[in-house]
Amino acid sequence: MSGYLITIATIIVINAIVVCGLNVIVGYAGQISLGHAAFFGIGAYSAALLATKAGLSFWAALPLVVTISSVVGLLLGLPSLRVKDDFLAITTIGINFIVEAVFLYIPFFGGALGIGGIPRICLFGLRLKGFSFFLLCLAFLVLVMTACWWFTRCWAGLACFALREDEEAAASVGISPVRFKLLAFVAGTAMAGLGGALYAHYMRFISASDFSFPVSITLLSMLVLGGMGKLWAPLLGAVILGALPEIFRPLVEYRILFYTAILLLMIRFQPSGLLGDESLARKVLAKVVPGGGR
């Protein structure tokens, strides 16, 4: 595999990990979040700072990074207990802008210069780069997707589904909205934090704009295109939206225009996503294979 393809594939896998976290919050628990890039950024910045300022290895820092991300996720998940729907959507946009501003304007976080000189990850004395780093990311993706799969099978996940469908009815069967919303935020932001740590060690240089609000929109678009709440949606969405700009590269000037046009067409004509219940792919499948559409 060429270096170019490996780079794209690695970014796609990292994005898929982050979008899995978003799927837990939005797809499973039904709490809209338009600020997921902030948590991605918090993971990346804490990994970068622990590596460059504290001199910790990736592996030593990882538990800390995930803890920091999920604690911040817990704090920033608190508004979801007070506001809902559109209010929550705009609140999370606000959180994204504020977190980005903190990275950009506070010298501790490198300010406008960002943080550079982040070391590579070592495993068994091997410095991971290129294909070996891709494999590491892939291993983490398998881990995260397994966790997501288990989440949909366990009581915690079922409680989140119930909350997503109807909060009052969920409470009437013993589900504490506070406990399970925060649980989803913690799990989802922990995954974003893991993705952020991988991103920081892969790029080896990060700055605030890597985690700005448009990134959150891209992450959410991946999830919606894949199919909100579906296990494989994050990977599918990350592949499509990760590959499209590369496919359109020959269009040079018109690349972004085509990208946005495709995004608009997909959301307009497949609003429940490619794996969603009303998707074209499913309808076709249902016709070809009896019962295959379920």
Binding site: P79, T91, A261, R268
Partner: protein
């Protein structure tokens, strides 16, 4: 004191401009419950069309008129082609559609007019006003006067015309409005015409005020205005105006006096989260 009054005047102008952009968003949210982020792209298009018509005809008023007509058509097109079919889906679906529309329009502006900053060399026919030692420049006067005019017209339409009544009924409850014989789809389109025209006025005005027109001029207003409609109380037009004026003044004064480390663009969101935690329905909202 002198400096303070000048800052205050600038702040009110800034707030007036925010208000003009936020109005359309508040109107659309009030009626469709959609976060119409692409509204900011309509405002950008307004600035470009206004500039083009002005350059072609030499008349600023034709520039305003042309921008309003073009933006109205664009607004209604977005409503019919993108929002209307997506209304039954969860709110993030039309929101993503809206953001895609905004990015696409920004790109189109860049491709058609070029990525650079264009100047808008028009003079607004307003006289500067001298109050003692303080001078209100002609551009500031123009911003005040045009904002006041727009607000007056908007007030007249919503409170004194049949269409305005239908709009208010539809924003209360679309199903009931339908049952009362109001053609709610027509009312929604009228709302987009109204909101987009105001955005066009705002675009031209901002182009002249800063003497700058560029493709991404809508990027910051796009999201800041979301914070403003929350602070004002979702869909409340007077609330949106008050929130915009407060923010314009607060931003200008904070930049002028306090050396806070946070950028002013985050201020709107900090204010918003503070308001939400304190009064989750916004300044003038109802639960």
């Amino acid at each position: 004191m002198h400096l303070f009054i000048e800052q205050l005047l600038n702040g009110i102008a800034m707030g007036s401009i925010y208000a003009l952009v936020t109005l359309g968003l508040a109107l659309v949210y009030g009626i469709l419950r959609i976060l119409h982020v692409a509204h900011a792209a309509i405002y950008t298009v307004g600035a470009y069309v206004g500039l083009a018509v002005f350059k072609f005809t030499g008349s600023l008023w034709l520039g305003f008129g042309g921008a309003m007509v073009f933006c109205s058509v664009l607004g209604v097109a977005i409503e019919r082609l993108v929002y209307y079919p997506l209304l039954k889906y969860p709110p993030y679906v039309p929101l993503i559609g809206s953001i895609a529309v905004m990015l696409g329009i920004e790109e189109l502006c860049r491709l058609v007019a070029g990525p650079y900053i264009l100047t808008f060399p028009a003079r607004l026919p307003f006289a500067a006003v001298h109050l003692g030692s303080v001078t209100i420049s002609s551009t500031l006067m123009a911003v005040y006067a045009i904002t006041a005019l727009v607000l007056a017209v908007l007030w007249y339409i919503t409170s004194r015309t049949e269409m305005g009544l239908a709009m208010r009924a539809t924003s209360q409850d679309m199903a009931i409005a339908d049952a009362m014989g109001i053609n709610s789809h027509q009312v929604v389109s009228a709302t987009f015409v109204l909101g987009s025209s105001i955005a066009a006025v705002a675009g031209v005005l901002v182009g002249i005020y800063y003497n700058q027109v560029y493709p991404t001029m809508g990027a910051v207003p796009a999201y800041k205005t979301l914070a403003l409609i929350v602070v004002g109380g979702m869909g409340s037009v007077p609330g949106a105006v008050i929130a915009s004026l407060l923010l314009g003044v607060a931003e200008t004064l904070l930049i002028g006096y306090a050396q806070i480390p946070l950028p002013r663009d985050a201020l709107a969101f900090i204010a918003m989260i503070a308001v939400l935690m304190w009064r989750s329905e916004g300044l003038l909202g109802s639960k």
